[in-house]
Symmetry: C2
Subunit: 211 residues, 2 copies
C-alpha cells in the first residue's frame, strides 16, 4: 500500500494528479446529456457526475465544470430549461466518449458521432434514440459551488422511457442486464454484472437475498 499526503499529491505532475483524483470517487455513472438552444441547434455531451438527488419529488443532478466542452450544455439549459439524460451502453460507449471533443457550437454532436436525435410530444429537448433509458428533465435549480467554481445543476424529472423487460416487480430497473456501462476516472469504460441484491438492513437481522 502507498500513502500520499496532500503535499505529495500537490507535487505530482498535473495530468497524473488529474487522472488519479478522478479515480477516487469510485465507479461512475456515464450519461449523455441532450439539449437544444432557442435556434434549434442540438447538443450532446457525456457526463460522469450524474447523481440521484431525491425520489419525492424525482430529482437528478450533475456537476458542471467551467469548461468549454460543457458550456454549450449549460447555455442551452439556461436558455430553454429542458434537458435529457440518456444512459450509455457498451454498444455506443465510443460514440459517447467522442462527444467530449470540442466541437463548434454550430456542429451537433449527434451528427458528429452518429447518434440519432429522438423527440417525444410535448418535450423539446433531444433524446438519444440508441439509449435504452431516456429521462426528460426541467431545470429546477443551479447551485454554485464556490470552492472551485463548479455548479450542481438539478432537474426535475418530467418523463422517462425505459425497456420494461428489465423492470422488476418492485420497481428495480436492472442496468447491468441491458449493457449500461459505468466508468472510472476520465476515460475508462466498465461493463457490469450483478453480484446480488439485499433486503433493507436491520440491526440483528441477517440480510435476505432479493431474487
Amino acid at each position: 500500500m502507498k500513502t500520499f499526503l496532500i503535499e505529495e499529491l500537490n507535487d505530482l505532475d498535473k495530468r497524473y494528479r488529474t487522472n488519479l483524483i478522478n479515480c477516487l470517487s469510485g465507479v461512475k455513472s456515464l450519461n449523455l446529456i441532450g439539449t437544444k438552444n432557442n435556434h434549434g441547434q442540438s447538443n450532446l455531451a457525456i457526463f460522469n457526475s450524474v447523481v440521484h438527488i431525491g425520489a419525492h419529488p424525482p430529482l437528478m443532478g450533475f456537476i458542471h465544470r467551467p469548461t468549454s466542452v460543457e458550456r454549450h450544455t449549460f447555455e442551452n439549459i439556461n436558455e430553454t430549461s429542458f434537458f435529457t439524460i440518456n444512459s450509455v451502453t457498451a454498444a455506443i460507449h465510443k460514440q459517447a466518449h467522442q462527444t467530449g471533443a470540442r466541437y463548434e457550437k454550430s456542429e451537433s454532436e449527434f451528427d458528429e458521432v452518429s447518434l440519432t436525435e429522438e423527440y417525444f410530444d410535448g418535450f423539446e429537448a433531444p433524446f438519444v434514440q440508441e439509449s435504452p433509458l431516456k429521462i426528460g428533465l426541467e431545470l429546477a435549480d443551479i447551485i454554485p459551488i464556490p470552492l472551485n467554481n463548479t455548479k450542481l445543476i438539478i432537474g426535475r424529472i418530467k418523463m422517462l422511457t425505459l425497456d420494461e423487460k428489465h423492470l422488476r416487480n418492485d420497481g428495480f430497473l436492472s442496468l447491468s442486464d441491458q449493457g449500461i456501462v459505468g466508468g472510472t476516472g476520465l476515460d475508462s469504460y466498465l461493463s457490469t454484472q450483478e453480484i446480488g441484491r439485499y433486503s433493507y438492513a436491520k440491526p440483528d437481522s441477517p440480510l435476505d437475498d432479493i431474487k
Copy 2:
C-alpha cells in the same frame, strides 16, 4: 419501450417509485464513510452518492439525505470536520450493506458488521482496514439543496492510501482490477470489468486505445 409521464410516476406505489427513481442515474459509486465524534465513538455508513468535485484542489462530495441512518455521519463531520471515504469491494459488500441498518448512536458499525478501524498518524477519523482505497478528508463546505432538504457535503482530500499495484503510469487507478464494486438503485451490487480506455476526444480524430 415504456414511457412514464411525471403524473404516472407520481401515481406509482411509493416504494416502487423510490426503487425506480433510484435506478435512473446510472451505475453508482459505493463507499463507506467513516467518522468519529468528540467522545471517540466511531461510525461507519454506506453512501452511493460520492462524486468527484474537482482535482485542483482535490475535492470530493456526497449527497446527504435528512435520514436518521445518515445523521450520525453528519453530526460527527460537523463536530470534528474530518471523515474518510473507503471503497467497497466484493469481499466486503454485504458488510457494507449492513452498515445501513439503524444502529444506536452508542453502537459502532465497525463492530456490528465486523470491519476493522484503522488509523493513520495525524488523522483522527477512522479508515476501513479491509478497503484497498482509503481517502482522508477535511470538511470544506456544506451546501444546502433547498428543493428537498438534502445537502451536498464537500471535503478536501488530506491524504489517501491505495494499492500501487493497480496504479498505472499515467496516474489512472484501476478499480475493477481490485474488485471495487458499483451499484444500482438502493440494494444491487455490481462487479465491473474494463471494456476499454480511450484517448482524449478531438474533432475529426479517431480515438486511440490506452493500453
